[in-house]
Symmetry: C2
């Protein structure tokens, strides 16, 4: 390990607006469609499920900058700015000429970037008189963040936690409960969707798609209740741009600009958060930056999926989105990076990848833990299994820079720490983890069921 | 939850020296005694077990300020200064006129204050050509910190982890292993001491006293190996004074001075760390500050122990120390605050309590978790079960201020977070935790075996 160099912003330099990249995109994403009428989603279609402010943000294609509400901004200051760190230890361990920086979102009180959107969404719900909210969570990072935010703004929260994560990561369940949330393993008997799945496949251990279906169903059947989502949708990524906006200022403090920007990719919230503010300079100023979304090889929608309209959830309750997808009933392998076990990619990142602005990179599970261990031993922080994918991609790029003998600036988002994921590290250290092969037929069969793009 | 107010130091304002309170104490602690000769410990007695620099610090009664080595200082900057936080949320939840501040040591990469001394001790060992080190750990906070520090300075580490914690907190074991340390449940079959105990009481689940005996024995039998301790001794508390020295400057930034300073108390490392720099102003400038060491009611050496010479470990391998103790073979109840399950108090704090400068306060286990939950829900940080004792004491003081209608400034040390202790919260939430009554006879029987003070 080495001395790290850390860059913080002065309190009054923390950005006061989020960045809405859609306003600057040359080719806008195709519209989301109402799942019943198949017509573009309107505000009236959105508001039965989501709060009005987030619905407006979701459909906003014209305003590049959205003010952060004062109360959200105040709560941000409880943990922001997060440090931008020059990773000398990792550079030395790799012997690379690359300069490696990471934006450390793991320092938030719940250990990940998820709080950035949780606080915003909880605030808007409270402002609109909502009393109850529902959500889904995979590994539990989002659920833990929303439990904190719901407590902060005085809302009752029910969390559907993917059953395999509920079993793998009991500590995250406890954290949510300690903050006062109700946590239900999904699929559950609490919803029609859940009961149907459990009847047909009693041993199914869940997916984010299923948990979303359950959370949406419960929200629609509960008075004064809204559904709240931790990733995928535009307004969530919008809130997460605080990450990249801070990083931009902090890279300036370091006197450098990234040649490569990397985030792990599940639904796109931390990847969009770190990358969109830099992408802005690619779109507007023509900066030559490489953007890499690091996804698990076992759930490779960006590298092996198709660009199609698809549902955001298993049961088809959400709007249809034009995106890279493996099909909404794709059942991902039980990898420990629970937050990356999602079939689709969100519309903005999908469009940007389609247009050649960004690329996916698929990382096998074992490579992710090898990278995570090297990072822990060289930088002293144990990363979340999700973030480990970004580290693995960073290491690939840093070693390429070494081979080529070029000095590159690589920036990645350390979306969360892995202190609650130590079971995964135990299994890795014991040699009990495997990679998962995903036969092409499985993908082909799944995507064959999707409707063609309109 | 409310907006917290956080105070950070500029990087060049981080203190460059530790504070050695012994130099300023009007009545010095009685000397430690060689366990064999019963004569005051000399440097030559210390160095077979400890590195030379720490041995010198241990015996230093004249220099009030000790330089922090440059390489340790550089590593401190990876996480320091830690924030001083005004806890508006907790104040509001209690409806108290008191101003509550906490020094948040949980933000260190391993989640507690323990890194402050781990880095220093690992550095000194490395400087002196040591290749291997051994230590004990209770809840695992110290072991995790030393694993990080050993990795940072390139040392091989063996950790004896108290068996009950090894079982209760498997994630901390994994963290140590991920950093590359070897972890052994204590009592173990790896040492003579361990084998004897396991033969006599096969189901004994360990104590810090036993783990220390094992670690010392292994260090003495391994070439080029030193023993390293996480609390109790003067040099450890010395390294931890960085906490209070920073807090002093940060309280100045807040424009206030504490009327009450509180820390949880196991061996005294975080309590000494936060309190000694303020105690300096009590000793030298006559400031009127109340110092409270919050200990578990089930291991109450400060409130119900005796001031006697006693060993630091179960087997009698360590020097004898004049201190408040429950007797070195006291077997504490299996509370979740594993770091507080220690029979003795260290010589400095013991002398200061004896002289009326400080006081102990005993906190039942259930009260500690009730306080921890209120803190989590009002401040958004889940505290370690150890730190929860400091929070409980803070709440008592804040409610007293409310009753009396006086505005007081209360400062406590949040020594660590509890993200890896969620099993304990689960049991608390399920109603499965209890308090532990400790009959006076048990204490009396234990301390009756001790030698009288010389």
């Amino acid at each position: 390990m080495e001395r790290q160099k850390r860059f913080f912003l002065e309190e009054n330099a923390i950005p006061r607006q989020w960045y809405n990249i859609v306003a600057d995109m040359k080719t806008k994403p195709l519209p989301m469609l109402n799942p019943v009428t198949k017509k573009p989603m309107t505000l009236d279609d959105m508001t039965p499920i989501f709060n009005r402010a987030c619905s407006e943000q979701e459909l906003n294609t014209t305003d590049a900058w959205i003010d952060i509400p004062e109360q959200v901004y105040e709560m941000y200051k409880n943990y922001r700015s997060t440090p931008l760190v020059r990773a000398y230890g990792l550079e030395k361990a790799l012997g690379t000429p690359a300069h490696i920086y990471f934006k450390n979102e793991s320092v938030s009180p719940i250990g990940s970037h998820k709080l950035n959107s949780a606080l915003a969404q909880a605030y808007y719900c409270k402002q609109e008189g909502v009393t109850n909210i529902t959500t889904e969570t995979g590994a539990g990072q989002w659920g833990a963040a929303l439990s904190y935010a719901a407590r902060a703004f005085g809302l009752e929260l029910a969390v559907f936690m993917v059953k395999v994560s509920y079993e793998q990561k009991p500590y995250r369940r406890s954290i949510m409960q300690t903050f006062g949330a109700q946590v239900i393993a999904s699929p559950s008997m609490s919803t029609k969707v859940g009961r149907k799945i459990l009847t047909e496949t009693p041993n199914y251990r869940g997916s984010l798609g299923t948990a979303i279906s359950e959370a949406v169903e419960l929200a629609m059947q509960t008075p004064n209740c809204k559904y709240v989502l931790g990733s995928v949708l535009n307004h969530v990524t919008l809130h997460q741009t605080i990450i990249g906006l801070e990083a931009e200022k902090q890279m300036e403090m370091a006197g450098e600009y990234p040649d490569v920007v990397i985030g792990c990719f599940g639904g796109g919230s931390n990847f969009g958060g770190i990358s969109f503010p830099f992408m802005r300079h690619t779109i507007i100023d023509g900066k030559d930056t490489k953007f890499i979304a690091a996804e698990p090889a076992s759930c490779p929608k960006l590298t092996r999926g198709v660009f199609q309209y698809d549902f955001g959830d298993e049961a088809g309750l959400t709007p249809m989105m034009p995106m890279f997808t493996l099909g909404h009933d794709f059942a991902p392998a039980h990898i420990h990076a629970g937050g990356l076990r999602y079939h689709g990619a969100g519309t903005i990142v999908s469009q940007l990848i389609k247009d050649g602005y960004m690329e996916g990179m698929d990382i096998p599970q074992l490579e992710s833990f090898q990278a995570a261990t090297l990072f822990a031993q060289s930088e002293g922080i144990i990363p979340a299994p999700e973030s480990a994918h970004a580290i693995a991609a960073t290491i690939r790029e840093a070693l390429k820079a070494k081979e080529e003998g070029v000095q590159k600036n690589i920036l990645f988002c350390l979306s969360g720490h892995g202190l609650i994921d130590m079971t995964a590290y135990d299994q890795y250290n014991a040699g009990d983890l495997t990679n998962y092969d995903l036969p092409q037929e499985v993908i082909d069969q799944n995507v064959a069921k999707l409707e063609k793009l309109v």
